[in-house]
């Protein structure tokens, strides 16, 4: 069969090397301290609790005199 490379071959023949000579040096592993599952979920739990505490305080905050006055004015 006809060579697939014949029509595309460089006059010099096949390419010599596909990559330069290797000059090996390892990458340094990043000391990325990843939280454990427990501390991750612990942090999440703390966040949720903080949100809940904030949410529980919201009704009291929203009954503040300023906001009540705003609501009454709007309805009036």
């Amino acid at each position: 069969m006809n060579s697939h490379l014949r029509d595309i071959s460089h006059p010099g023949g096949l390419a010599a090397a596909s990559v330069p000579l290797r000059c090996h040096r390892p990458m340094q592993a990043a000391a990325l301290t990843v939280p454990t599952t427990l501390s991750f979920f612990g942090t999440m739990l703390m966040g949720v609790l903080a949100l809940l505490r904030g949410a529980a305080m919201a009704p009291a905050l929203l009954r503040s005199p300023v906001l009540l006055r705003m609501r009454h004015q709007r309805r009036a």
Binding site: S9, S18, V19, A30, L62
Partner: protein, 635 residues
């Protein structure tokens, strides 16, 4: 323009103030005397989501002000003298369209000349892609008179995915280079931009990474053309805002960026996360983490919004876009495990949080909409809840569509850009139609991303496969199979709302319309013909279409010229001695590991020698093609 800290505080103030105002207003209308648990939940959801889109809105406002005032967005100067630095341009590929990849490399090579070394770093696991890449590389070298600075490396084992691919380059050849420019398989960069990036790195020794934000170009489907238009018209405001808030705390988008090799090698060896995928294992979205690690080590990471000459192609269809989002979603959610890591700078944590939120917002929107609908549906709550929904929708509309108006105002100041987009009329119509399309697509994406998140939380991981990057009209049957569920959910939504909250139906109709129309939307926007028709009508035009773009046009011409020769060429290694010699020469440069099953290999060798390959599986082909000894014996 105020200094970086002041800009950030101002931005935070605007985001928080608008959120507090909106939440207060919302709370005021909800109820007079106290709140139920459901109402509090609704308020919290509303606050989170309002803050999220308000952050995006104010970012665009900041970008608009900067553009109108002509603020310098990258406070760095490039070196004036020619660079003596050595820079490698890396193109990692993984079972990609071979003709397209090599056309892109060649087009950039022709633009950048001899100043750079080019590495095609193949991780292709498909033997057909592998051999086609070898032939394409050889052809390209032959056509370019040998081009000694274009290298090809195939990695026999795909360890660590793309970041592992880059790591392999760094460990083997990184010491030879000062900088590396990472590309994606569909990336294009001009020679001027590459040289300018090198000049910027030369003159700024604290900079470890400069991101050149890529502009979307080059595709012809209607969906892709709409994205290209949006990227061209709205993108400059977004990148300007980001650049002004980030400063040297920038981010890395995974490609079209220049990186200082020794800083990267010293600080960006990525650890494997404990546990199994989807949250554990290899870090999938490595780019954000690498930028965070460089920042933690004290290096600067910049974005250069106005450098230009940096391009990539958008996904051609809605399903391709959403499939890419599936991988990014998993990758970004995995950052939940890293966001609390020790030593990261606050802006890096915010980058990670924004990445997570860009996907987590979808299910939150879904919850908010369901909650709103149920409150509106509850008879005892009366009209207050309808008013809340109206407030919510109007506020959201301002935040979502305001940036588009700002983009139009900014673009209108630049006559040259107006002409390049087809004139003010074309831009105006483009924005209206793009907004309509976005409104229809948003609920489809919301539903799909919510499902992705649910499946990821259930522990269903996805692979990191190659992307479909070519334009093609999707058949109706394909769309019906993939989006029938969206349509059904849209119809169910209408029935339920009609039954339980008919007053709210009008408000939810735009959302439900997107779901109900998802199948025709997917099919029609995938059409290259409709893309071409809109182009002829002057719609969604971008500068690269109006004026041409040399690096892109050349890549397209080369792809068209070589596409036909990239059929399945695996068997040529057995049939054609020249192809076999080429393959063996490349195999000698990157030897494959010993076979896992020598008995099976012995049987395959016999079959290969007889050319009885009809029953070969992909794994069989891989074993045969990695077997230098067996192939050499064929003569």
């Amino acid at each position: 323009m105020p200094d970086l800290a002041l800009r950030r505080w101002l931005y935070l103030y605007f985001v928080l103030a608008s959120t507090v105002a909106a939440v207060t207003a919302m709370a005021g209308v909800l109820r007079g005397g106290g709140f139920s648990g459901g109402e509090i939940a609704l308020l919290v959801l509303f606050a989170i989501l309002f803050a999220w889109i308000s952050a995006s809105f104010w970012l665009t406002c900041l970008g608009a002000v900067a553009r109108l005032a002509g603020v310098r967005l990258l406070p760095l100067n490039a070196a004036a003298e020619p660079s003596a630095a050595r820079t490698a341009i890396l193109m990692p590929v993984y079972n990609e369209d071979v003709a397209g990849v090599f056309a892109g490399v060649r087009s950039i090579w022709e633009a950048a000349g001899p100043d750079f070394d080019f590495y095609i770093l193949s991780d292709s696991t498909n033997p057909a892609s592998w051999i086609a890449e070898e032939l394409a590389w050889h052809r390209m070298k032959a056509e370019l008179d040998g081009a000694p600075n274009i290298f090809y490396r195939h990695r026999p084992r795909n360890i660590g995915r793309k970041s592992g691919n880059i790591q392999d380059f760094c460990e083997n050849w990184g010491q030879l280079y000062d900088y590396m420019v990472i590309l994606d398989a569909d990336s294009l960069m001009t020679g001027r931009t590459l040289r300018e990036l090198v000049g910027l790195m030369d003159a700024n020794p604290r900079a470890a990474l400069i991101q050149a934000p890529p502009q979307l170009v080059g595709r012809n489907s209607l969906f892709a053309r709409i994205q290209q238009f949006a990227s061209s018209v709205y993108g400059p405001l977004h990148t300007a805002g980001l650049a002004l808030l980030q400063g040297p705390d920038g981010n890395y988008w995974g490609h079209n960026a220049i990186i200082r090799v020794h800083a990267f090698m010293q600080h960006c060896g990525l650890p494997k996360l404990p546990g199994k995928p989807p949250f554990g294992g290899e870090i999938l979205s490595h780019d954000f983490i690498e930028a965070a690690l460089l920042r933690r080590a004290g290096w600067d990471v910049w974005m250069a919004p106005d450098i230009g000459g940096s391009y990539e192609e958008p996904p051609p269809t809605i399903p391709d876009y959403l499939l890419r989002d599936r991988r990014w979603c998993q990758g970004n959610l995995q950052h939940l495990r890293v966001i609390f890591a020790e030593g990261l700078k606050l802006p890096s944590r915010l980058h990670l949080a924004m990445g997570i939120m860009s996907y987590a917002s979808s299910p939150l929107w879904l919850f908010l909409l369901i909650a709103s609908a149920s409150f509106v549906g509850a008879a005892e709550h009366g009209p207050y809840y309808a008013t809340a929904v109206v407030t919510l929708v109007v506020a959201m509309l301002v935040l979502l569509f305001g940036p588009k108006l700002l983009a139009l105002i900014v673009l209108a100041q630049d006559e040259d850009q107006v002409r390049a987009h087809g004139g003010m009329g074309a831009i105006g119509w483009g924005i209206i139609l793009e907004s309509l399309f976005s409104a229809l697509m948003a609920p489809i994406a919301m539903l799909q991303l919510s499902w992705y998140i649910l499946s990821i939380l259930m522990g269903i991981a996805v692979g990191w496969g190659s992307q479909q990057r070519t334009d093609r009209a999707l058949p109706w049957r394909y769309a019906a199979r993939g989006y029938g569920i969206h349509t059904a959910l849209g119809v169910i939504g209408i029935v339920l709302l009609n039954a339980f909250a008919p007053g709210a139906l009008g408000w939810f109709l735009p959302l439900l319309a997107g779901l109900i129309l998802s199948i025709p939307l997917v099919v029609m926007t995938s059409s290259p013909l409709l893309g071409e028709l809109t182009r002829q009508d002057g719609l969604f035009l971008v500068p690269s279409e109006r004026r041409g773009l040399r690096v892109l046009d050349r890549a397209h011409a080369l792809t068209a010229a070589h596409a036909a020769s990239m059929t399945d060429v695996r068997a040529l290694v057995l049939e054609d001695p020249d192809v076999r010699r080429l393959h063996l020469a490349l195999l000698a440069d990157t030897p494959a590991p010993p076979p896992a099953d020598p008995v099976r290999l012995a049987a395959l060798r016999v079959q290969a020698a007889r050319r009885e390959v009809a029953g070969f599986t992909r794994e069989d082909w891989t074993m045969v093609l990695c077997d230098a000894e067996g192939l050499a014996a064929l003569g």
